[in-house]
Amino acid sequence: MREVPLVGISRRYIAVIGLIGMLLAPFSSAQAASVPSVGKVASKLEKRYNINGDSVRDVMQGFNVNSSKKTTPEVSVFFSPSDPKSGEKITARAMPIYFSNPSESLYYTWYLKRKDCNAARCDYNGDGAYNSKDWRIEAASILVQNGYDSVDPGTSYIVDDDNDGYKARFGGDNKEGKADYCAVYDPRSGDVYELVDSGSSVSFSCPAGLSATCLEGETQINPETSVVTFGGGGLDIFGDPAPNSGGGTITPFSETPPDCNVGGCSSVGAPVCSGGSVPTCTSGTPCCVADPVTATVCAAPLNLCSATTSGSIKDLCTHVFAQPRGGLVSGDGAFGAGEESFWKTNPRDPSTANNGQKDEATVVGLGMDEFSWTYFSGDEVGVAVEGTSMIPTKHDDSSSYVMWAFPKNKCHPSLVGGSTDQYVQTIKGYQVTFPTANMDPNDCISHNLVNPAEGGQSSNLSIQLSVSPGSLTNDETSDKSGDIVTVQAAIDNASRENGSLHYDWIIDISDNPRFTIPRNITAAAINSELTTRTKGNDLGTLHFKMNIPAALLGPMSGGTGYIRFRLRAEESIEGGGIRKGNSEVIARFVSTGKRIQAYLVDPVVVGPRTHVKLGANMICNGSPLERTACQVIKNEVIGLKIDGAGLRDFSWQINQKPLICNRVGVSPDCSDTEQGNIVFFPVTGKTGDSYEVTVTAVNTATDQAVTMSRLFYVIDPYAQIVSSDTDVAWKKLLGFYRDVLGTAAVNCPAGLCPNYSEEALQTFAGSVVVLKAEYLPRFIASHPGLHTEWRVDGEVVEQSATDTISFPIRKYGGASYDISFQAIILQTDLMRRALYDVWDISPLDSTESNFTGKMQVEVQDATMAAGDQKGIKKYYALISSYVPETFLFTFRVLLLGFLALFVTSFFGSLVSTPRFSRRR
């Protein structure tokens, strides 16, 4: 503690008294008739200068602690790429702030800690340990070498004449002529400690086991229980009469000052021993606590202290540069052969890194705000930026503190086990106390390591979801012909393939787009096979069948609802950490049991024109597949109808174009006043074309729009010949295949599934085969313009029933019948005229359609299976089975011929007998 002269105190008192006298002097004459009141004077001053007492109080309270609100230097480190992979080059960029130096004048001491390094492998300075000194050496080596290989021929460290030494200055390269005051900042208390050893000894009178600290709490503000009435006469809260201008009530608040004897306080710094005996705190109250870091209650009051000083101050200012081994010093202005050899720089090149500055300047990190190295998993990196802060010292000169910035801002005495102290100097005649810290900033390095791959520096996954088709129709019936929804996730900033990301889909439905009461149907959808799986990898695309049953829909059944697809995606980052992203998309759907029904139409003559009307045969209603996608043929006219009960205001579209039906021009089923629930369209497209018919109507009960659609595909008509009785004629067995996928529809004993031919039947000789033609589309069977012809081996065969023939099998085993079925569909003349009158389709374009079906019936011998012959008979049978039929036929004819010769010869011999001779 430095000695404070008594002369200075006396001068301060005189100055204060004088100031008060000057303030009061002008009012003395004005209030000469009475004794002036200090309170009235102050009140008048407030009014004259519009001074608000609350504002002044607020400013002064902030001013009181302003010394603790310092903007100390900081540094942020950014990595590129943000998710480095092992073996990949990575660059760390330091962004320092709150230094008074320009960036290129700062010293950037980079350090790199390798995960797989230890004292045996990476002890670069030979101190027997792998610590922050080695980390700095490795980083500085990378910077200064910049790819230079000292093994290159010609490199010799015997001579060093490149004059690449650099003398570093405290506080930055441009700091010259200013005193060096190094300091560290305690972010908790806001104190700035000079790095000096004051040589003083301070002891506080705390009980054993307790240490001195400054505790400070916050003022509690609580509402009062009473209510104060103001206005309308009466007294205000201060007891003065209130003006009669309205009134009301307010609830006053009371302030409870902090009481660190009770709790709610925290340590804000260390006390100083003022006057050699009085503990004082810049902020808070001196207290004895067990642990300053965790203390909230003052364990014992701190009233006394004792301080002794040696009178000498030792400066602890030091650099945190990487230092070579062997006592060599970096930044001392000398960069000799020893240092060249240690850093493996080019002794003939003053700037081995080719960065325009000397090698030693590079070693100390002058302006090196970027650091690039080859990343390996587990690497940790950091930088200590040395420069002149923007905090001026209290010394009587132009100095500002020399300070260091670390990535995590962790560098204060209590962190590294340093001690704090103070010394007092007389500045401008006043005793100024300087808090001091006895610590080494080099010890802060190990507390400021950053993992380039750890979370925090990487942004979240950016996910975009899209749903198609746009308008969804849910089929709540058992047909399950609802739309198939495809939700596509696009993640544009994932560092991995989308297939390796983890996806978690959640599906909700709600009756409103805000999803105030969502219903999670994810599990139910999986159970109902509306979707497959919702969690796992490679789920960037989700397929969902809009076949939500009515039980799940609840009040949305038969109406409109909204379905929301939410996605949570995650990817693991190399070296640890996870990146996540969330997104959602909402689509509107219409759920209905109604559907667009398709009919064949009949032509009807209306005056001079021919129109169409809905026929009696509904088509495409035989199976869920047909109801989903109706197959039609060219030149057919399709009538569409939807149950109009409960619906109004119909609007039909086909392939996004209006589909109109009126009575005058199209059909007597339609109306001229409004669009009804029936329309017609001709199939004029080519094979493969499709028509999407959409009808939008308004639900009369809910006044909500309902949209339904149906697809129609144009195909070539086709006929398939099938056996009416598979016991008589059955499909030919082609062989067996192993059902690896387990999707076979037939019975597969031992996993072997039979493969039957669709073009060949088999039957036994002598049986009567009945074949039937099945059409695709199936409504062809009832088409009025259908004409068919059956042929068996080229011969025309009459039908035994509609589209059915029956014929006996007269051929023997091994033979076959070629069955052909030829059909032609030709619209009636009246329908062709309707096509022309209604849709202007020329009769030249509504020509006939031909199609055929073929089948081969192979004949088998009924006795083929009874082959239990043995011995020589079996041998003969085997031979005969291999004899060509041509040979057997020739043999049979020859036998007949020889029989004829024998008969002739025998008859001739009878004619030539004597009996006949005598008769003659």
Partner: protein, 265 residues
């Protein structure tokens, strides 16, 4: 008067010459067997009773054989495991070619010349053959406008693409089928069986041939050329005494008709 007699005598000689040419006697050859009386040249020993009995026996046997052969050919059960065309070819070869030869050689024990397989007398052969082709050409000229005839007389489509295939078809298929008809109807039926009836055998064999076609396949324009050729082919075989000549004449007629149709197509 004398002059008239002389002219008449010359005229008779010319007529006799023409007749001799037509009848095949111009070369002065006499074939007793062909005339039908075997005993005429049989070792020069007149054995009228024995020869007449043998002729009657041969007539009866051959009649039986011819009708049995045609009957079996017509009523042969069809095999369902063999192509019908192959069956027809096999059966025709056996019944129209193989069996007549065996019958002649083994049953009657007569030389194959009895079937007309012998050297031809080419002058009457060319005469009757030429007449056959000429008359056939005239008839073809009148028949071609007939739609039924044109549509019924079909050639395999592949012949229209290659003349080489046409030649092969004519030589192998047409020549082979013509040989079968010649051997059976002109050789067995006309010469061996009905040879004793003289020129009327020509008409009879043609009638049997046409009748068999009508029974087995039905009459149609498709067989018009075949029926026509049977009559003239019989004449060629009768007067040339060889089925070689009738075979050649028959084949020539078919070739020319096919050629006309090929050109027309």
């Amino acid at each position: 008067m004398e002059e008239c007699r002389a002219r008449l005598a010359v005229s008779k000689q010319v007529v006799a010459l023409v007749i001799s040419v037509i009848s095949g006697t111009w070369l002065g050859r006499v074939d007793g067997r062909f005339r039908g009386t075997r005993f005429d040249i049989d070792n020069g020993v007149p054995n009228m009773k024995k020869s007449m009995f043998a002729e009657r026996e041969k007539m009866v046997m051959t009649t039986l054989f011819v009708f049995m052969s045609l009957g079996l050919l017509y009523g042969l059960p069809e095999s369902q495991s063999l192509d019908s065309v192959t069956q027809e070819i096999i059966a025709s070869i056996i019944f129209l070619l193989v069996l007549p030869v065996i019958y002649c050689k083994m049953i009657l024990k007569e030389p194959l010349s009895s079937l007309g397989i012998r050297e031809a007398r080419w002058l009457p052969a060319f005469f009757w053959g030429g007449a056959m082709v000429s008359v056939g050409g005239i008839l073809l000229f009148f028949l071609l406008p007939v739609e039924g005839f044109r549509s019924a007389y079909e050639l395999p489509s592949f012949l229209e693409k290659s003349f080489l295939w046409f030649v092969v078809y004519e030589v192998v298929a047409v020549g082979g089928i013509a040989l079968l008809y010649e051997l059976f109807f002109r050789g067995l039926v006309m010469k061996l069986w009905l040879g004793s009836l003289g020129p009327i055998a020509i008409v009879l064999q043609s009638a049997i041939f046409i009748g068999f076609i009508g029974i087995s396949s039905g009459f149609s324009w498709q067989y018009a050329v075949l029926c026509y050729s049977s009559l003239f082919s019989g004449a060629v075989a009768y007067f040339s005494r060889s089925i070689y000549a009738s075979w050649l004449a028959n084949w020539t007629l078919f070739f020319l008709v096919d050629l006309v149709f090929l050109v027309l197509h």
